[in-house]
């Protein structure tokens, strides 16, 4: 299995890592990949894929509007807000 690029993974996860953290996570994530490798031992030929033990398919509700959060409730924990809207960091430079 190839060496994992922890710096790239951190960038995807939007995290700054120190060199020490990069080294630590390199090892820890490597261990997780070993788990995946271990599963290669299992012969699954002829075994049907199973997504879950409980067979539940296509759960739909009636297509009807119902009461849910008011704007005040939805905004009650917002770090920054104005005019009933969330204030976000500038997305387009």
């Amino acid at each position: 299995m190839g060496k994992l690029d922890v710096g790239y993974v951190a960038q995807l996860a939007r995290l700054h890592l120190t060199p020490e953290e990069t080294e630590l996570f390199q090892k820890q994530l490597g261990d997780v990949l070993l788990y995946a490798e271990k599963l290669n031992e299992v012969n699954v030929k002829g075994v049907e894929p199973a997504a879950h033990g409980v067979p539940i398919f296509n759960v739909f509700r009636e297509d009807k509007a119902s009461d849910w959060f008011t704007p005040a409730q939805a905004l009650s924990n917002a770090p920054r807000q104005a005019n009933n809207l969330f204030i976000v960091t500038k997305v387009v430079e």
Binding site: I56, P79, T89
Partner: protein, 350 residues
């Protein structure tokens, strides 16, 4: 019965006193509060508890309901409107839940009073409660030991008689293991049995809410309250809920129980082995037939768990981005910096 002795009782015993009007729901709460203040400094099971709010609910309590007037502690990742819900993380430090989980609505419909938020490993990731970003929780039987985790606060609270019963959650053992380490009854319901609506998700395809109690009877009472289909959780099981108390006290004639041989391998603590053997003997004495079975893929369970749980956790924790709720870093240079610094400051190492 003095107020001092009340907290040591089981739910069934307190219920009996409440129904005979020997104590009031307010007195039950006050006795618990008194004991929390006396011992929780040493244990650290609770992150928060609001006596005034609980007393308000107690005023309207109907003691004839199945859990009427019984305070129940909640692991700090189940939303109850107006209460904190930190998930043991700094990122949700100032958060107040704007809505209530289905399991808690059902508890209340059965008369219970949500009282107290219990400590946990951050976002339920851990098995000792040492990964809480808020505080340590100690095992009430031996303060130098951990109570297990991630529902360690709930387990310790029940073990220390500072909760009559509590809810925890189990993704990969987080009810069963702390219950075992703290000497209380823990039950992990089958996936889908209890609605996850209002539960902060760790690994959605595994998470289940379940009870931690002093007795099996109490566990059955809590299951009767919280189990059942919920339209707001699309993976909840649409099947009739049995009365979990109906088989209590009966013998086990005609019941066959499988004992997986892969579970009794090298590395099992001798004390655990002795306890399991004693339980098997007890079940046999009650009439159950014990059959050795084989679960040949047991060895792969941990591998599968670590792949699924971490993948689902990374998707679920993406929502803590400092936009709609939770911590947001100050003096942000750009969008990358917004996410990165918010998470670095908010999340613990785990």
């Amino acid at each position: 019965m003095t107020k001092r002795e009340l907290p040591a009782l089981s739910i069934v015993e307190v219920q009996d006193l409440l129904r005979r009007r020997e104590v009031s729901p307010a007195e039950v709460l006050e006795s618990l509060e008194e004991r929390i203040n006396a011992v929780d400094d040493k244990i650290g099971a609770y992150l928060a508890h609001d006596l005034a709010a609980a007393l308000n609910e107690a005023e309207k309590a109907d003691v004839n309901l199945p859990l009427g007037g019984i305070p129940i502690a909640l692991k700090d990742l189940i939303n109850v409107e107006g209460q904190p819900c930190t998930c043991g993380s700094k990122i949700l430090g100032g958060y107040r839940a704007p809505y209530t989980a289905t399991a808690i609505e059902k508890l209340r419909a059965h008369g219970a009073i949500p009282f107290g938020r219990t400590n946990m490993d951050e976002f339920a990731m851990g098995s000792s409660t040492e990964n809480s970003s808020v505080q340590l929780t100690r095992n009430p039987w031996d303060l130098s030991r951990v109570p297990g985790g991630s529902s360690g606060g709930s387990a310790a609270a029940v073990a220390a008689d500072i909760a009559f019963g509590a809810l925890g959650t189990d993704t990969g053992g987080s009810i069963r293991q702390p219950a075992a380490l703290s000497g209380v009854v823990g039950f992990k319901p089958s996936y889908g049995r209890v609605s996850r609506f209002g539960l902060v998700a760790f690994a959605s395809s595994l998470d289940q809410i379940g009870p931690l109690t002093k007795t099996v009877h109490d566990s059955a009472l809590l299951m009767n309250a919280i189990a059942g289909h919920d339209l707001r959780d699309s993976t909840s099981l649409d099947a009739p809920v049995p009365d979990y108390t109906k088989n209590l006290g009966r013998d086990l004639k005609g019941i066959r129980i499988g004992l997986p041989k892969e579970y009794m391998i090298e590395g099992v603590d001798p004390a655990v082995k002795t306890a399991v053997t004693a339980s098997v003997k007890q079940l046999q004495a009650l009439g159950a037939e014990i059959v050795e079975v084989s679960l040949p893929h047991t060895d792969y369970a941990v591998s599968v768990y670590y792949i699924l749980a971490t993948a689902e956790a990374s998707a679920n924790l993406a929502r803590f981005d400092g936009v709609r709720y939770g911590h947001r870093a100050d003096n942000i240079a750009n969008l990358f910096d917004h996410y990165a610094r918010t998470r670095e400051e908010g999340f613990g190492a785990k």
